[in-house]
């Protein structure tokens, strides 16, 4: 059966939330991000984008492009909350939801709709509900697979809706530049251009064997995508292999107390994420980047899996003693946990009194 896939991408998510919550920011060029020297833009409002500002751009550069730029602090916990709210709205319509980020979701609505035009109407309804209940807009793409849906959602931002009937998939893609194809980065794009391939249509008509010789496995894959063929399913829950957080210092440091304090905060964020996903990990990983960009990682495996931030921080601090942090300036520090297991699985035979595994008055992670 023909599948009906929706890709929903919220418009300038973090920046829109800040503008929604602070009316004085509406209509202003707003970016969300840190205020330190090395901060980067996490999200830019459409007003800011007019100045050529985009996410991941160094904050310094963004300020230069737009001297009147308003820089709002990042309120990640709040954005997560809004994301959960949106997810809640989507869940009224289907259980097959694959979140890609806080502001991006794939939905498989084949069962609910049966045909692409019907799925388009559902996407319209979802958008309306989200706007009514959260005051935020999103853009949706509807198509027979993930690739087409994703490309479609990006076409008429903000507040757009693009529906691509299955038969028109290839035609719809043909005029678009090859850089829209997943897996085509700057290097591949340049090589393709050397072959005279600029649009997806050019790529779709190219010889797949030739592409394979040039790009290996990637060749046939991008050829298929260019032809509008993409069989990847919407994956409901993706259990991560590891959870980690890292931070870059304003200035390189050899201050162990500062490093430990940072480790504590990172461990807290790791722990929050683990708990929300109902996971625990056994191996603590400390990652450092020294001033000369040389990396170092240290691992320690605990006796029992944990999601406790103190335990993670304590272990990370011990690992720190096994690095050259006190003598070589550190630029970046990160904490992660691997060897993840689900706390809700039957893996742990002893039930706990307080944890999510207790089955009692548990503090189950939501979402």
């Amino acid at each position: 059966m023909e599948r009906c896939i929706i890709h929903l991408d919220m418009d300038a998510f973090y920046a829109s939330i800040e503008q929604r919550d602070h009316p004085e920011l509406r209509g202003q060029p707003v970016v969300v991000g840190g205020s330190s020297r090395r901060a980067v833009v996490a999200a830019a409002s459409y007003e800011a984008r007019k100045f050529g500002i985009h996410s991941a751009m160094p904050m310094m550069r963004a300020r230069r492009l737009c001297p009147d730029l308003v820089v709002a602090d990042v309120h990640m916990e709040h954005y997560r909350e809004v994301s959960r709210q949106i997810r809640g709205i989507l869940e009224r319509h289907t259980e097959l939801i694959e979140p890609l980020a806080l502001d991006e979701f794939f939905l498989d609505v084949t069962e609910q709709t049966g045909a692409i035009p019907e799925a388009g109407r559902l996407a319209q309804a979802m958008k309306a509900e989200i706007q009514m209940e959260t005051g935020l807009t999103g853009s949706a793409g509807v198509g027979p697979n993930k690739f087409v849906a994703k490309v479609a959602s990006d076409l008429r931002k903000p507040d757009g809706l693009v529906v691509v009937p299955p038969a028109e998939g290839a035609d719809f893609l043909a005029p678009l530049p090859v850089s829209r194809v997943w897996g085509v980065g700057a290097v591949t794009e340049r090589k393709l251009e050397g072959l005279g391939i600029r649009t997806i249509g050019d790529l779709a008509g190219a010889d797949p064997q030739g592409l394979e010789r040039l790009f290996g496995k990637l060749g046939p894959r991008i050829h298929q995508l260019a032809n509008g063929v993409d069989d990847r399913p919407v994956q409901v829950s993706r259990q991560p292999k590891s959870v980690s957080h890292e931070t870059t210092f304003e200035e390189d440091t050899t201050d162990l107390d500062l490093l430990r304090e940072r480790l504590g905060r990172l461990a807290q964020r790791v722990s929050e994420r683990l708990r929300r996903r109902g996971l625990q990990g056994r191996t603590v990983v400390l990652k450092l980047t020294y001033h000369n960009f040389q990396h170092a990682t240290r691992h320690a495996t605990l006796e029992q899996p944990t999601d406790d931030d103190r335990a993670i921080a304590a272990e990370a601090a011990r690992l720190l003693d096994r690095t050259e942090a006190a003598v070589r300036p550190v630029r970046l520090v990160g904490v992660g946990l691997t060897g993840l297991t689900s706390t809700v699985s039957a893996g742990a035979p002893q039930l706990g009194l307080f944890g999510p595994e207790s089955g009692g008055p548990a503090d189950l992670p939501s979402g």
Binding site: L351, L353, F354
Partner: protein, 373 residues
């Protein structure tokens, strides 16, 4: 500093502080003890920064002052000195200490006495007082449930709180490792009900020191709290401990309100039965299955390499039969501190906490989470 002290007294003092002295050598001074001589005698201090001891011993002091000695070496020396001898201790320049007894003479290096960490002083706060024997009983009934998992720091001690209930004062101690929980209440004078207040977590190691103090002969325990320290006064001196930081979990929410199924059994029978059956169970987790049906309890355990064990006993029970698995160790720990002939086991379902208590003792209960089979 210059003094003489009875060898037996000195040896006892050194032995007493060995348990406190830090062995991990993170700070060299923590491997030392502080000796301070004053007209009142010899004061000996040891600390690992979590728990500290300051004890007073009789000595003849001819010159007040302070020195430090490496705790383990000092103990080894004192142990080998002639019995019933008298030891002379003299502080020399550059932190050297002279130790003499009979014909033996030692010159050992110490560290500057000023570098020894100050033990926190808890004064001004009105101390909480309790009969030592009662306090010892409460420690006995909870301390085994304290978590030894370093990662669960907030469970590494016993939670102590006091409050007024029906015009009476209550002192409550609660300990848990996240799998089982023990709670004990004792009545205290109403006027003392606010002295411990909303609750503090006393570290396990500190409570073990307190128990030692009580065993050495102590009538009344006097507990003073201030800031993040607790001080307990004994006959010989004080135990000082740093309170465990962090929040103790809300234990009230895990105590089942209704038992569901109530099983009454003979304490000695169930204790002996669990001991026998758990021989077969897996060493580490000791899962034993309890099957309860009208009038009967069947204990069973099996091990893939060893075999199986079953034991049946008569109990008082009416109601829906049920099968639940538990770590036998958790039951035995509790049964060991219960008194009285009969115990009552409250069971919900296969995944609900069980409540174990002695019949007729309203002041103590243990909550144990099942194991999945």
């Amino acid at each position: 500093m210059k003094l003489t002290i009875n060898r037996e007294v000195f040896l006892e003092a050194l032995q007493r502080v060995q348990g406190i002295v830090e062995r991990k050598h993170t700070m060299p001074i923590l491997a030392h003890i502080l000796l301070r001589a004053s007209p009142e005698g010899l004061e000996l201090s040891a600390t690992d920064l979590e728990v500290g001891l300051r004890l007073q011993y009789p000595a003849e002091v001819s010159e007040p002052g302070g020195v430090t000695l490496q705790a383990k070496k000092a103990y080894e020396i004192a142990r080998e000195l002639p019995e019933r001898g008298r030891i002379g201790l003299t502080g020399r320049e550059n932190n050297w200490v002279e130790l003499s007894c009979g014909r033996a003479r030692f010159r050992v290096v110490g560290l500057p006495a000023e570098e020894f960490p100050e033990l926190p002083v808890v004064e001004g706060a009105e101390p909480f007082e309790m009969t030592a024997g009662v306090m010892a009983g409460m420690i006995e009934k909870t301390i085994f449930a304290v978590s030894t998992d370093e990662t669960r720091y907030n469970l590494s001690g016993v939670f102590v709180e006091s409050f007024a209930e029906k015009g009476k004062g209550v002192l409550r101690m609660v300990a848990t490792d996240g799998h089982r929980l023990c709670l004990v209440d004792e009545e205290i004078e109403a006027k003392q009900a606010k002295r411990v207040g909303k609750g503090v977590i006393l570290p396990r190691k500190g409570l073990l020191e307190l128990r030692k103090m009580i065993e050495e002969g102590l009538d009344t325990v006097s507990l003073g709290l201030k800031g993040n320290s607790a001080v307990i006064r004994g006959e010989r001196g004080v135990v000082v401990m740093r309170l465990v930081e962090g929040e103790f979990p809300d234990y009230r929410q895990v105590i089942p309100e209704t038992a569901g199924r109530k099983v009454l059994m003979k304490r000695e029978e169930i204790t002996a039965g669990l001991r026998r059956v758990s021989i077969i169970a897996n060493e580490k987790t000791r899962p034993v299955k309890l099957m309860v049906s009208a009038g009967t309890l069947v204990l069973s355990a099996s091990h893939p390499d060893l075999g199986e064990a079953v034991e049946e006993m008569e109990v008082q029970f009416e109601g829906e039969p049920i099968e639940v698995g538990f770590n036998a160790r958790y039951f035995l720990d509790v049964l060991n501190v219960l008194t009285g002939e009969e115990v009552e086991l409250g069971l919900g379902d296969e995944a609900s906490p069980a409540v174990l208590r002695a019949v007729g003792d309203e002041g103590y209960l243990a909550i144990i989470m099942p194991m999945r089979f």
